[in-house]
């Protein structure tokens, strides 16, 4: 296990380097003169020259890349062209907002998806199985930005049940401590604000959860069906064990590996999907941060935003890989 962990960490190095290189190349791959594109056509020659220098584009590319890498290792994510402040300082609150949304979405997706999958497998070919799998198929094909708009129209506008946009009540904003508002409000003992935050989380959380929920439900179902055909399940049944325990204890534990893989992969994809969900629900997360940066051609912010999400994605996959062994001792790494 230890040697596997070390090797798995080692295999990360080329991937992380490659990711940094792609992100580094982004600004250099802009057709034409990047500094000119960033500043617009009206920019003076001096301004373009100054921008070229500021971005370090006047040096040979390998020196630029070396500077970029050593900067990254020191936690330097560049300076926003719009606000002139370091991205590493700005990005924190946005990142926390996205993490909070993604966590809630993942909790919704896992709780509903896993249970729907288990029950579907338990009562295979029942009406529940049929309905759940049709919903999962539709969910899988759902453009989440459209689902978000429909949620807003029906639940917020027509029924006036939940707020349309934002993270908190703008007239009574949450005072950030950790940046995770659910925790911040509880730390300050503001239960009223806590429920306000939950209300704001529900719609974007469901929109973001839809696709992973569908995939998790399908994966759980097929994995459970496979396990439930095995001999030890028949033995457990023959011993007279209650079906509930057979399903939730014996079967599910053994069906968990592919489910965990999917959950890990989906958590990463969720971070990508966040850019759409945040756009619809005015969620001040990293997706919004990147989106605004694209509109104002603030390339250092686009680069670092994408790098941070990709880094999280890789780390989540790493954790999932290492989790396998913990879940299933039968897995031996050679």
């Amino acid at each position: 296990m230890f040697s596997y962990t070390v090797r798995r960490l080692g295999s990360l190095i080329p991937v992380l380097l490659g990711m940094a290189f792609i992100v580094f190349m982004m600004i250099r791959a802009i057709p034409g003169n990047p500094a000119q594109v960033i500043l617009g056509q009206q920019a003076t020659e001096e301004a373009v020259a100054a921008m070229t220098k500021e971005l370090g584009l006047d040096k040979p590319w390998f020196i630029q890349f070396w500077d970029y890498l050593s900067g990254l290792l020191k936690g330097d994510l560049g300076v926003s062209l719009k606000t002139n402040s370091p991205v590493s300082e700005e990005i924190g609150p946005y990142l926390m907002a996205t993490i909070e949304l993604a966590l809630i979405a993942m909790i919704i997706a896992v709780v509903i998806g896993v249970n729907a999958g288990i029950i579907s497998a338990w009562f295979q070919n029942s009406w529940f199985d049929y309905v759940a799998m049709v919903i999962a198929l539709i969910g899988l094909s759902m453009p989440i930005f459209w689902l978000g708009l429909m949620e807003q129209y029906i639940i917020s506008i027509q029924w006036d049940l939940l707020p349309t946009t934002g993270r908190d009540n703008i007239r009574d904003p949450v005072e950030a401590i950790t940046g995770l508002y659910l925790i911040d409000t509880l730390m300050q003992g503001r239960v009223d604000q806590f429920f306000e935050v939950i209300k704001h989380l529900i719609l974007p959380g469901i929109a973001l959860a839809t696709i992973p929920m569908a995939i998790i439900a399908r994966m759980t179902r097929s994995s459970m069906l496979e396990v439930m055909r095995s001999d030890f399940i028949r033995t457990a049944r023959a011993k007279g064990m209650r079906m509930f325990w057979v399903v939730y204890k014996h079967s599910f534990k053994n069906a968990l590996i592919p489910v965990v893989t999917v959950i890990g992969l989906q958590t990463g994809l969720l971070l990508g999907g966040a850019i759409l969900t945040e756009n619809i629900f005015g969620w001040p997360g990293i997706g919004t941060y990147i989106y605004d940066a694209i509109l104002s051609r603030d390339y250092p912010v686009i680069q670092s935003g994408i790098l941070v999400i990709a880094f999280l994605f890789v780390m989540i996959n790493l954790v999932v890989d290492l989790l396998y062994a913990a879940i299933d001792p039968r897995i031996k790494y050679k």
């Binding site: 080329p14 600004i27 453009p143 459209w146 708009l149 506008i157 686009i302 999400i309 990709a310």
Partner: protein, 300 residues
């Protein structure tokens, strides 16, 4: 000696026996036909492809004809899906939009298949450092959430439908690259490849005559599912303003343009989204069915 090996040899199977051999494609079609869900998918896909092909004949109005006096008309006999903020007929725009979405779906996936297969085959067949480099590049591309990488590519190249297509194609290349690589690794060990090598067949012909045909089924399955993803990604980029530009009737862009009017005219948001969902659902159902029918490893 050589006269023994003429084709009059009685060992060759007679014609009737030859006809009884069922090709894997026929067998696949037989099991696909029994799968009702997959047939629904095929039906939806065929429906949208026909709409895309015959758009100018079916669409009641032009997709860009503005008539401001008709703005935000609710769905009626004249405008089945209503009209948008410029008085354009939404049904006609949705119909023409199918050309963009399905076109981008097919073209981008075709691009990914060609590039991905080429790289995958080279990596698998030649192995060694070529394999290491290509596989690492795939790993790195897959290390990004795909929509995010597509956004990054468009942020660099500039927003347009063509660049969105390129971005989506790039993001999908590793899927087919890895697929082909693993197929090559399996097929390479088969006896008929050794035999082909023994009779002096060149690498190119072996790849073309043995490796590719043996990889066609999984490519078709993956390709169908990838079209579904590509359509959603195209709409997502359009929605963010990074794909098709006005007045193109791209479904995602239509959603983005109409969302400000969702209270006065909810139909402007309803129909383009439904179109996206149905098309994607069709390709997903069909892909699932094809996988069950063509991919023996997935058979229960």
């Amino acid at each position: 000696m050589p006269e023994i090996a003429t084709n009059t040899s009685p060992i060759l199977p007679p014609k009737e026996a030859e006809e009884k051999v069922i090709s894997p494609w026929k067998e696949g079609w037989k099991s696909f036909r029994k799968n009702k869900v997959a047939l629904v998918g095929l039906g939806i896909v065929t429906f949208f492809i026909l709409i895309a092909i015959f758009a100018p004949l079916i669409a009641p109005y032009s997709f860009e004809g503005q008539k401001l006096s008709d703005k935000h008309l609710a769905p009626s006999a004249e405008h089945w899906f209503g009209t948008d903020e410029f008085g354009r007929d939404i049904l006609s725009r949705v119909i023409y939009g199918s050309r963009i979405s399905i076109g981008v779906g097919f073209l981008s996936v075709a691009g990914s298949v060609v590039v991905g297969s080429f790289l995958g085959i080279i990596a698998g067949y030649y192995g060694r450092w070529i394999d290491t480099i290509i596989s690492r590049v795939f790993d790195i591309i897959l290390a990004f959430p795909s929509i995010l990488l597509a956004i990054a590519v468009v942020a660099v190249l500039g927003p347009s439908l063509r660049n969105a297509l390129i971005a989506i194609a790039i993001v999908n290349v590793p899927i087919f690259g890895r697929l082909l690589r693993s197929r090559v690794l399996t097929v390479k060990e088969e006896e008929y490849v050794t035999a082909a090598k023994a009779i002096g067949m060149g690498d190119g012909r072996i790849l073309l005559h043995h490796v590719l045909p043996n990889s066609l089924a999984p490519i078709i399955v993956q390709g169908t599912l990838a079209i579904a993803t590509a359509i959603i990604e195209c709409a997502a980029l359009g929605f963010l303003g990074l794909g098709a530009q006005p007045p193109a009737p791209e479904w995602g862009k239509m959603l983005a343009d109409s969302r400000a009017f969702i209270i006065q005219a909810p139909w402007t948001v309803l129909f383009p989204g439904l179109a996206i969902m149905l098309t994607v659902l069709g390709f997903n159902l069909m892909g699932d069915g094809l996988r069950d029918a063509l991919d023996p490893r997935m058979k229960n």
